[in-house]
Assembly symmetry: C2
Homo-oligomer: 329 residues x 2
């Protein structure tokens, strides 16, 4: 069984997104709960800023939900997921560190849903985030280096998002099922083309999801991928067409939604924060307003480290999909 | 509720450990399923070797269990947990990446138990591992540098372990409850004294565990910590004594068990692999032989990255505890 059914339909009772200045200037700017214009968020380093984004998102979501959760699932892109771990010093709740690269928002949401669905906890938080400057420093070169960006590159989103799930039935927005990703490697080695690395994994997850749930793309009000960007989105459409699924007009990539073309982000946004702030802003707000009733949210991750790239390894991808829908009871 | 009860008592139906040459020469040498004397495991780099340890442990445990699991939970110490992720290319199963530093074996076991307990999957694998040379390269200096080790340091275990959990009742060894750790920071900044960084978190988790489950140390046949080492073990005993719990003679640290004193490992073993190979060898074998009926297995992690240390941050710790016991039905 590669698609998991949450029979008790854990409810989404709160969400919060915090994003940076560049993100606030994009098409989704109005949908974020909070904007932090200072890229240091009042701290000494960009790493401290990233950590503060996590604390802000998690505390914000908890406040919106108005309940005290039992457990937090969180992850980020930094080595040893230190943004999540260090943020948890301030949160003080039991914590499970999750790593799914840029698929982390979906993966943490699935895990939080699993624990709530099982009745192991009453309530849990799922969170993910990223920061442009910390990702550049770690994966590529520090900003001071003034590196040139090839046109296939993507722009790491500065932002974090958090979702609170609860066993209580006070909300109609539920997490109903999920398809956890397999690691898929098509042998691509271009670190500046993440979309191409992740698209095969996205196709694998979506194909399994549609087959297991006996659904078609048309059964969803919208399908979101996390941060495939322009190249990855096109590759995913092609790969799925070969397998008999037409993603059609209701498929969107968060990485393409989040910035405007004139913002010079090449193929679009990326990073854990990309899908995290889009989910915990634009997408869940649409549920609240009644525009969406059933959405397939799939975040994608490229499973590389600078060491694996230096050692000549290819870049495998993973994609985790979760269904969010309005339920009646 | 900070201790989770697994009412359906997921069963441990298979386990496997693979360890390196140095580990094979220690007191637990006979308990490992397989020894790999070549530190490169036939690969070009130590990183490839670490990945192969994961594949070996996971495939080994699956073979012992004789069932095809639905899902794998795994994590390691390398940046972006690439050992787990890359190993999953060969395993081909859906995969949740877990990061709990050296507490990962307990954390992956808890998550696998949660999914099986919930009926979300029929069977799941939990895995963790580490390699001395990859950890030295990443956290300290490459071996070629010939760095001197301060006496408070610990020796990263080369090895990986995997456990298969199942909803079927064919085994009497079950995972019955777990206490997930909070991030605890006592402000220690010495990267060569991991035991001191982790002991406060271990004390926090054990105290909560004993209180929530209304148990005492004497209620367990044995209590294991993951890799506190000599300093951490003493600190944990002291911290718990202050809180009214005497760990007594049945408390052991995997980091102290795994090497003999003449092996020159300073304060003892460490790394994800330390508790992983001890659990999936020595500890579970004792259950099989009927020597153990109820064990508290707590793995501890230090949540640092070289970047956080360079930036002057302290080193928070986390500890995850899980109860393994023989059940009657």
């Amino acid at each position: 069984m590669s698609t998991i059914i949450f029979n008790h339909q854990p409810r989404i009772v709160g969400w919060y997104s915090v994003a940076g200045k560049k993100e606030s200037q994009g098409p989704l700017g109005e949908t974020f709960s909070r904007i932090v214009e200072d890229e240091y968020f009042g701290g000494k380093t960009h790493e401290v800023a990233e950590r503060r984004l996590f604390v802000t998102a998690i505390q914000g979501a908890i406040q919106v939900a108005g309940i005290q959760p039992d457990l937090v699932f969180a992850g980020d892109l930094l080595n040893q997921i230190v943004s999540s771990s260090f943020a948890m010093r301030d949160i003080g709740l039991p914590y499970v560190g999750i790593y799914g690269a840029c698929s982390t928002m979906a993966l943490s949401l699935i895990n939080a849903a699993a624990y709530v669905d099982a009745g192991l906890v009453q309530s849990a938080v799922a969170a993910a985030g990223s920061h442009f400057a910390t990702a550049e420093r770690q994966y590529r070169t520090p900003l001071e280096f003034g590196n040139q960006r090839p046109p296939s590159s993507q722009w790491t989103v500065t932002g974090a998002g958090a979702t609170v799930l609860s066993a209580s039935k006070e909300s109609k927005i539920a997490v109903t099922c999920a398809t956890i990703g397999r690691v898929v490697d098509f042998g691509i080695k271009d670190v500046n083309n993440m979309g191409a690395c992740m698209a095969p994994a996205a196709a694998d997850t979506l194909e399994r999801h549609f087959a297991n749930t006996h659904t078609q793309p048309a059964d969803y009000d919208a399908i979101f991928s996390g941060d495939l960007g322009q190249i990855g989105e096109e590759a995913l459409r092609d790969l799925l067409k070969e397998r008999g699924y037409d993603l059609g007009q209701k498929y969107y990539d968060c990485g393409k939604l989040i910035y405007a073309e004139e913002q010079k982000v090449d193929m679009g946004g990326s990073g854990c924060g990309c899908s995290a702030v889009t989910l915990n802003g634009f997408i869940l707000d649409k549920f609240k307003r009644g525009d969406y009733h059933k959405v397939l949210f799939m975040a994608t991750g490229a499973l590389l480290s600078p060491t694996t790239c230096f050692q000549g390894e290819s870049i495998p991808g993973v994609a985790n999909a979760v269904v969010i829908e309005e339920v009646t009871e």
